[in-house]
């Protein structure tokens, strides 16, 4: 039987398109130090470390070893997890499994990426199949352009509806001191921005960022005795992978992995009406169109209803179910950290520590990770322990 576990502390770096003031290890250290300070802990209080990024982005494969001093993992249990865009969520899930197993009480989880050290689109192409997909794919931008084209065609979603996602999230980012892009934009700005791959325009797409994020997952005993924060208890977590090629999927953006992961997570958490019961969601939205589709996959609205849902204002701060109060991935995207930032921001909401972006009284928060060949991870955190 799994033990209860909670996130008791979070730490994030300053995120920017290029952090020339730090190298990889210094960047990781910045998040770790912030997280340990948030917990009131020192490395001696940590039993184990899970760390992850997308190695081929930087072209360095042993950062987990180089970073031992910066992480505080000297002579400790440590493992690396890399699952693509979902990496940060996978790292947090691995942290949960460490603690839930009963073998560890405090696990430091770190996701990081220094994207400016490499080339993101080249890295993403390199992640795909060398025989069949690398030759014509154009990174996340090209793939999401195909997906958005299909999504618009199938459901009549408009570029204006998608633009509302960018306007909302970039507006929210202005409230988040950690966000990379902190400048409010309008629908007109989005529509007039440079076309990258039709229908995806510059302001529909996430940036590339340098940054790291860390959380501490603790056992019930540690969470109750030592946590200076209100613990954010794991209520549910699920992950789903799809078949390997775009060619295999009935619809690209339809995201059956997210539908299935959400179904399992809702069952674990006893959620029957996600839109009513969940207080806040942090979604891994690589582009505007994706957030609309993720609403549908998560059951926040009916299939094809994503555009109308964002138009209704329900997902704005102050709305029925605020989505991405942090500003989301469209505002900050250090890929190996991105899915962990979703988890950390969900934890901050449950802790009541989200500052100007706090959803008042948030008790139940959902975070998603997106990556690889349309993989999904869902994490649900709550203010109350599971029975």
């Amino acid at each position: 039987m799994a033990r209860r576990a909670a996130i008791i502390a979070t730490g994030q770096t300053r995120h920017a398109s290029r952090r020339r003031d730090v190298n990889i290890v210094e960047l990781i250290h910045e998040a770790v130090r912030a997280c340990l300070e948030d917990a009131g802990m020192r490395p001696a209080d940590i039993d184990g470390v899970v760390i992850g990024n997308m190695e081929h982005f930087e072209g360095v494969y042993n950062a987990d070893l180089w970073a031992v001093d910066g992480v505080g993992s000297l002579l400790k249990h440590s493992m690396k997890v890399t699952t693509g865009g979902t990496t940060g969520a996978s790292v947090a899930h691995a942290g949960f499994y460490h603690v839930a197993s009963g073998l560890f009480d405090t696990v430091l989880c770190i996701g990081w990426e220094k994207q400016s050290d490499g080339d993101t689109t080249a890295g993403l192409i390199f992640q795909s199949d060398p025989l069949f997909e690398r030759g014509n794919m154009a990174g996340a931008i090209g793939t999401f352009a195909l997906a958005a084209n299909e999504y618009m065609q199938k459901f009549g979603i408009t570029e204006e509806q998608a633009a509302l996602v960018a306007v909302k999230n970039r507006g929210n980012a202005c409230l988040n001191p950690h966000a990379h892009l902190r400048k409010a934009i309008t629908v007109e700005d989005v529509l007039a921005s440079r076309v990258l791959a039709r229908p995806i325009k510059l302001l529909d797409m996430c940036p590339t960022s340098d940054g790291a994020c860390a959380v501490i997952v603790a056992s019930e005993q540690v969470a109750k005795k030592k946590s200076p924060n209100r613990p954010a208890w794991f209520k549910a977590l699920a992950t789903r992978h799809d078949q390997p090629f775009n060619a295999d999927l009935p619809m690209l953006i339809g995201m059956r992995t997210l539908t299935e992961a959400a179904r399992e997570a809702y069952a674990q958490a006893g959620i029957t009406n996600p839109r009513k019961e969940i207080d806040v969601a942090e979604l891994y939205e690589p582009c505007t169109f994706a957030e609309l589709s993720w609403y549908e996959a998560l059951g926040f609205c009916e299939p094809g209803g994503g555009g109308r849902l964002v138009e209704s204002g329900a997902t704005q701060l102050g709305g029925e179910l605020p989505v991405n109060p942090s500003g989301g991935v469209i505002s900050t995207n250090c890929i190996g950290a991105t899915a962990m930032i979703r988890v950390a921001e969900a934890a901050l909401q449950v802790m009541g520590k989200a500052g100007d972006r706090q959803v008042p009284g948030a008790r139940l928060a959902l975070a998603t990770g997106f990556g690889g060949s349309w993989w999904s991870e869902v994490t649900i955190l709550g203010a109350e322990e599971s029975p």
Binding site: G142, L146, A197
Partner: protein, 152 residues
Amino acid sequence: MTERLLDVTVNTRYPYRYSCGTIASEFFAALRDEKKILGRKCPACGRVYIPPRPVCGPCWSPTTEWVEIGPQGVLECFTVVTFTFLDPMTGRTRPVPYGYGMIRLDGSQARFQHFLEESDPGKLRVGLRVEAVFAPERKGSLSDIQHFRIVE
């Protein structure tokens, strides 16, 4: 004043050579030698896979039969790429604009992802019939199909 924050630049030529394996080798050889597109059929569910593979994931059944598919099909979604980026396949910037899309080849349920000859988005639409154009010199790789062109 001299720059205080420094970078170290690495421009390594780092070649890879990927084994195609038995199944993909047969697929590429058929492209090269016969200008044929072959799908691999699952005997349990009947799905014809492209890219071909030795096992059907949902059925966990070994695929047993080659089926000729295409060379025509239906364009199910597309884009025209207009941003420039480093192509890790060549080490150079990939030329833009270029069209690419997902094509449901006749005889297969799968949607083959490949280049389109047309790069004017005004002339592309979902549902168009397209057909494979083979490269004049073929080497046994996916680029033996140059692109797909619109069938008049």
